[in-house]
Structure formats: structure tokens, C-alpha cells
């Protein structure tokens, strides 16, 4: 597998790994998984006045998944909350030079982010 330098950089030192304190006001979280693809992703957002303030993620997955989750977490900060519904796996793939066979995994990033605002997801 080849990785772009951006993927390698983010995997070596992802900047938004972890959880937000449970007591954080405006906390919402969402996760998604695909066991057959061995991928699980979770985001936690802190939203204030409709704007995403802080994002944290965790992921069990390949380097592309981890890097894309880290990039997504970074990008969502400062966006209106609806941006979490509009994460685009294809765009992540382009930006991080992810091979097409990884698309299925990256779609779980879309799902996990969207789940944060759909109100259905809770922390497992």
C-alpha cells in the first residue's frame, strides 16, 4: 500500500484523537462501523450557537481512515453544525490520495460525522 505524505504525517501524529469531557456543554457524538471492512469511527463535536467549536475522533481502521478522520475533525471546527452532514468521502480521497478500494471505509467517516447531528447516535 502506498500512502501520501499527508496520510503518513497525520497517522504519525493525529491532532484530534480522543474524547471530550462528558460534561462538555453542546457535546454530541456519532459513530459508524463496518465489521466486514474492519472499520470503526467515532466523532465528538462540541457545538455552540450552531457552530462546531471542537472536534475529537477515535478510529479503528487503516491509515487512510485514521488520516481522513483526523482531517475531517480539523475541517469541521469552525463550521456550521450542518457541515457534519456534508462530509464528502470522495473529496477526502482526492485530497489524501486514497486508493478507490478504500472508499467503503471512508464512507464510514461520512456516516459517523452525520450521526453526530442526526441525534440517533450515542456513545457506546
Amino acid at each position: 500500500m502506498e500512502y501520501s505524505s499527508e496520510v503518513v504525517r497525520r497517522c504519525d501524529a493525529p491532532r484530534r484523537v480522543g474524547e471530550l469531557p462528558r460534561a462538555t456543554p453542546g457535546l454530541s457524538s456519532g459513530e459508524a462501523e463496518d465489521r466486514s471492512l474492519q472499520v470503526w469511527v467515532r466523532f465528538e463535536l462540541q457545538v455552540q450557537d450552531g457552530v462546531i467549536q471542537t472536534v475529537r475522533f477515535e478510529a479503528f481502521g487503516c491509515p487512510h481512515t485514521v488520516a481522513a478522520a483526523d482531517l475531517t475533525a480539523e475541517r469541521l471546527e469552525g463550521q456550521p453544525v450542518n457541515a457534519a452532514r456534508r462530509v464528502d468521502a470522495k473529496e477526502l480521497m482526492r485530497e489524501l490520495e486514497v486508493p478507490i478500494e478504500k472508499l467503503g471505509k471512508l464512507l464510514k467517516i461520512e456516516d459517523a460525522a452525520a450521526a453526530c447531528v442526526s441525534g440517533t447516535a450515542t456513545r457506546t
Partner: protein
Amino acid sequence: MRRREIYLDYAATAPLDPAVAAAMTDCMTREFANPSSVHDPGRRARRLVENARAQVAARVGAPAGRIFFTSGATESNNLALQGVLRGGRARPHLVTSRIEHKSVLDTARALEAAGVAVSYVDCDAGGRVNPHDVAAAIGPETALVSIMHVNNETGVIQDVAAIGAICRERGVWFHVDAAQSAGKVPLALGDAAIDLCSLTAHKLCGPKGIGALYVAGGVLLAPQIHGGEQERGLRAGTLATHQIVGMGAAYELADPAAEAPRLAALRDRLWDALRAVPGARLNGAAEHRSPHVLNVTFPGVEGESLRLALRDLAISAGSACAADSPEASHVLRGLGLSDPLAASSLRFSVGRFTTEDEIAAAAGRVAVEVPRLREVAKSAPRWCSV
């Protein structure tokens, strides 16, 4: 800057021993003639080939005349299986195991497509094939049993003596893939109940692209590569003198009595360090192991990310032949591991030039990266680590 590369992938391939390289270079620059040519330079090349054949034969305890050169153990495995089962004789049944190398399993699959029946024996949780299971799989139609000597992913040694005895008793030929074991685990083919045995040079600090098939007297094989009288008609093609010389030198140099304990000590030292990583599990029975392979699962750490994190270590997830494939190792699944656990496993394999410092450095790197990656997947569901 990354640290200096540490090579712990001897089961995939090994560096050339400098003495082997010297023998090859000497041959390459001096004796270039075709060993099948009858003129003087051809005869000199032929002598080099026959000398190498004797060196290989001596290491595996076989008569030189029973060693046939091929392009490697992959070809030898193909020749053994196809040569027996495409021979056009009766008894179209093959018995093998689920944890063989792909060159056996894919050949078995191709034979199935051609109408051969194949029985795949399972291994136990320790990675060992029970000889009784082999016995049970043999039927009146069975022509050949093929079981490897040392597994390339776990290093587990199969009981080829017991299986061979069963094959003799039942009048069935027995093929052993000894690509990983030759020169590391004692094997005396002449005395063993083994009819066919695949060998390769490159796992033993010899050159890639050269191997051999041992064929016991009386075993009939249909050649798979036709044309020319080389290797007494069993394998056509201009003999690659320098490659054969390299294999001969590698087999002569190999000294299992001295090397196996040294490798085992390195491997055990590595395991002693790695077992300190929480959750680390050894794959394959602790007894019955070749000295050079250590396969460890780190539950809860995704395999591909682990390999990227440890990219300064040249190690592997499974066999190199399928290194780029996303499928979990068929061998580890054969031992009963789930897909995530199989994917969270690493094979470390040591060899002639591995140092204690490298072992210590590798263990140190794993001890840093596994917990770091577990942090990234801290709340991951249970299926990720069972």
C-alpha cells in the same frame, strides 16, 4: 528522519551471504558457458552445476542424483503436485492442509478445476496438523499427500515423520514443502519417508529464483516445463549456472547445528520483550517451532496502521506473496483467529545477520507504537480486539 532500517523478515527472503555472492560473482565472470554444451567451457560449467547439486544433496541428506533444479520452491511445489496429479494415471485425489503456502493451495485449486478431488485437513489451535487427520483423509483414490515442514507464517514444525510413515503404510506418495525449514531444522531426506521435497535457496542466504525438487527413486512425475533434456527431462530450460552455484554455496554454508540455537535465542529474546506489551499473544505452539519465526497478535490495533507505524522495521503481516492483499492470513484463520486478530498480527523472522541490538530496538519500537495506536481506538467496540 526515521531510524535505521531493521530487517526482521528473513522468512520472506534473506540477504545473500557474502560468501555466496562471491561464489556467484566468480561464476558469473568466469564460467559463462551453457552447462548443456559439450565443449570444454560447457563441461566446466556442468561440473559447477554437479558440484552444487552435491552440496544441496549433502545438506538435506539425499543422493545428488535425486535433486532437480527449478526456479524456486513455488515451481517445485507446482511440479510436485501437478507432476503427480496431472500424470494421467488413476487415483485423482490429493490430501493437503489449509495452512500450506499459497503455491500449494493455489495449485490444489487449479487441480480441482481440472477434476482432481482435494481434501484440506485443518490444523489445531497451535497450528499443527494432526497425523491422524491426514490418515483419515487418505482414501483409495489418494495419489499424494502434501504437508509443509515449517509453516512460513508461524514457524510451526509439522510432524512429517509421522505423516510420512502413514503415507508409506497406505501406499501414497508424500510431498513436503521444506522452503522454510531447509538448513534450519534437521531433515535427512534419504532416511525419511518422504517422496518429494521442495527446496529454495533464498530463505537460506542464497539467491532468489533458484530452488530444487527432491524426487525419491521410483516416483514418477510428469514434467511441467517441456523442451530440452536438462534435469534428465524433468525440467527443461538453460541451467542458470551462477544461480545453481549460489544455491550450492548457500546450502553448504548453512550450519543448522550452530545457527539454529543462535536464531532461537534471538527469537526468544524478542518474545520476552514483546510479551510485556499488554495483550500480546504468541501464535503457534510454543514447542515444535523453527528457530527463525515469531508471530504475535496485538489485539485492538489495526494491522495496516501498525505496519505503517513500524515502517522502520522490515517485518510482515503474513507471507510476502500476499503482502499487498487485504485478506486476512489464511494461516492465522486456520489457527482459529478472527479476521481482526489475524490482521492485528505481525511476523518477525530472524536470520544470519540479525543482531541483539536489532532485536532490542525492534521490541522497543513495538512497545511504543502499540499503546499509541490503541489510544487512537480506545473506545472501539469489542469486535475490534477479539
